[in-house]
């Protein structure tokens, strides 16, 4: 299982028709993870991924932050094998890190028919993935801002070919959507992209789990160029927050670093959340080797 203490805190109510499944996000919901640089929220990605795969449900991971190896290594510690899940067809990995900007010779004849490979167990296969993001890039300027429509079509083709199964309860997990904003994608387009991804998940009765960066201390501003960036980021965070049902905000301790407490997490309710059993709280957590403990504030084992 994922982190048991977080499961109890979130206490996702199970639908009637899927009564045997626990700890899966409600169908059609969106979970937004906000983190800060002092306390990164990557560990929550693994929680939702592990829960999803343990329940034999489907998951698609779009990673702009880490490699497949990273998720596979941690997944093994948490008790899932991503490679096997990939072969079984319950898990797909879309690599947005290594081939987001690179331009390769476009293999246009087959890229429209065949969806990109999502298996990255060796380097040769990785180069196949690249076709997905690349066919639209013009070869003259490398490092142009990534094409959102292409990322979307990649995700869509992966979902429709591999995960279009009734009862798949697909979870689309986007690790670090902020990277696209930082890389120069337009905010409005990015919000549209988010909505489109959400719609894809809703069709599968699934959920969308997104990690974004939301650092505070924006008030100590800054040059004019930064001001525009900050304004855009603010718009980005707020509109995503508005569209999500569950907001998990991770931040460091206000009192500074502690050996026994890694940080604080606020489980908040989005504007369209009518889940009666869900109780927004603020918890503290401690990251361990292969687990994360969540506890009420001040109830750390090291303190008590």
């Amino acid at each position: 299982m994922g982190y048991a203490t977080l499961d109890t805190a979130l206490s996702f109510s199970s639908d009637d028709e899927y009564d045997n499944i626990k700890n899966i996000p409600p169908s059609g919901s969106s979970i937004l993870i906000k983190d800060t640089i002092g306390a990164e929220g990557g560990f929550l990605i693994h929680h939702f991924l592990v829960n999803q795969l343990k329940a034999e449900k489907h998951a698609v991971l779009v990673s702009l932050a880490q490699t497949m190896q990273h998720y596979a290594t941690i997944g093994r510690k948490l008790g899932i094998n991503l490679q096997i899940a990939q072969q079984k067809g319950t898990f797909s990995y879309i690599d947005g890190l290594t081939h987001l900007y690179t331009t390769a010779p476009s293999s246009s004849n087959d890229s429209t028919i065949n969806p990109p490979s999502t298996i990255s167990t060796n380097l040769r296969q990785q180069s196949l993935i690249s076709d997905a993001f690349l066919t639209n890039c013009d070869s003259s300027s490398s490092l142009s801002s990534p094409s959102l429509s292409h990322i979307y079509s990649t995700i869509k083709s992966v979902i429709t070919t591999r995960h279009n199964i009734p009862g798949s309860r697909l979870a689309l997990i986007i690790d670090d959507l902020s990277a696209l904003l930082y890389a120069g994608c337009n905010v409005c387009n990015l919000i549209e992209f988010f909505k489109a991804c959400r719609l894809l998940c809703q069709k599968q009765k699934g959920s969308l789990i997104t990690l974004i960066h939301a650092d505070e201390a924006m008030d100590a501003i800054i040059s004019s160029a930064d001001e525009e960036n900050a304004r855009q980021e603010d718009l980005f965070i707020k509109s995503l927050q508005y569209q999500s049902e569950y907001i998990l905000a991770v931040r460091g301790l206000g009192s500074g670093f502690s050996r026994d407490v890694s940080g604080e997490i606020t489980l908040a309710r989005g504007p369209q959340n009518y889940d009666l059993e869900y109780r927004p709280t603020t918890l503290q957590y401690k990251i361990l080797d292969n687990n994360v403990q969540f506890f009420a504030r001040g109830f750390s084992q090291g303190v008590l």
Binding site: I37, E40, F43, L64, A65, Q66, T67, M68, Q69, H70, A72, T73, I74, K77, Q83, Q87, L97, T98, H99, L100, Y101, T102, N114, P115, S117, T118, I119, S120, T121, N122, Q125, Q126, L143, S145, T161, R162, A179, Y182, A183, G184, H213, D215, A217, A220, I221, I222, S223, A225, D226, N229, A230, E233, G256, F257, S258, R259, I287, L288, D289, V292
Partner: protein, 398 residues
Amino acid sequence: MSFKKRVVVSSSSSTGSGSTFAFKPEQKIPTGIRLSPYNGQLLISTGVPSLDDILCGIPLGSLFLILEDRNTSYAKLLLKYFIAEGLAHENRVLVASADEKPQALVKGFPVPPSIQNKKISLDKLSSSSSIINSQQDQLPQPFCHTFDLTKRISEKTINAASLSFIDIAEFSSNEQTTSHNALRIAIQSIASPMWPISTSSQELFRFFHALRGLLRSTNHAAMMTIPAHLYIHSELGSAVSPSISFIPFIKRIARVCDAVVGIESFAGSPQTSNSIYTSQYNGLFHVHKLPTINSLLAPATKLSILSGGGGDQLGFKLRRRKFAIEKLHLPPEGGVGERRTVAGGGGSEVENAHKSLKKFDKGDDATDNDINNNRNSSIIIDSHNSKPKRVIGGGINV
């Protein structure tokens, strides 16, 4: 090219064949690379033992960012250590800079004693026997060399090393080689005003993001310094210390780097710093981010003696021969000034006896010890620190 179940050829060796570079067990790990005791990650050294302790080494395939100090060049020194460590291990090194000629950057390197020895042995080899050389080879290479800042690296060593330079001002591509030897990429003052390209926030982020993706599948590691203080708004610039929480531009870059540290020197700081600190340290050392690859928890939070997960304030000191990072602490209670007043005003008999005994023991060193030790310290401790130039507790050997 389809989504059918793929018979993955190398699925059995899932640890070895992932996207992060790994060696097959039968292959020998090249010198200068060490396996992490925490998660089996391949690590290289920064060249500074105390920094190695804080980060637990730099994982191959990662980006390491140093936020530069203001008006001083301690960050450049760290970069030099990084390159020199690579030369000592005969790694491939790529140096890029826009602020000065990369060749000039290399010339001012500290040199490890082992390279000197090796050079001698090679000279001997050419004249007499090959036994000495083979003995040299059998000696296990240390993970991190001890460098002597007073010595400069020789031209011969530079010429022998596999170095690549990129002078940003007159950019040219370099040859590509495939080798298991680690490649160290050192970039000095990226996004400084000397760089001819426009460095908008988005473009720089794309560069870092693409580089991260590129490095992950290789056995390369990059160390970069960035003049973060230039990106603070000019009105705030004089009042705010270069902490990343104030600079959105740097914060975004820091997100894609695996490890981020900041150097804040007292000499370049606009704030008046306490003289008690300035006598002991050259500045503050901030750890913003620790490398967390293939694990939930940064290995350094468990293994590091010095930082323990970034909780403690760290300071650095540059002495004649070495650079060291230490836990920041106040000198013992009382300090220098108080002692002098007591001693000058007659003092008690015990105090005088204490002082005369010290003078008897060490002669001229006594004044030096006055600075380093408080009045509560015993004579035994004094005698330990009797060398005038000795750095007390300098660095931790890992």
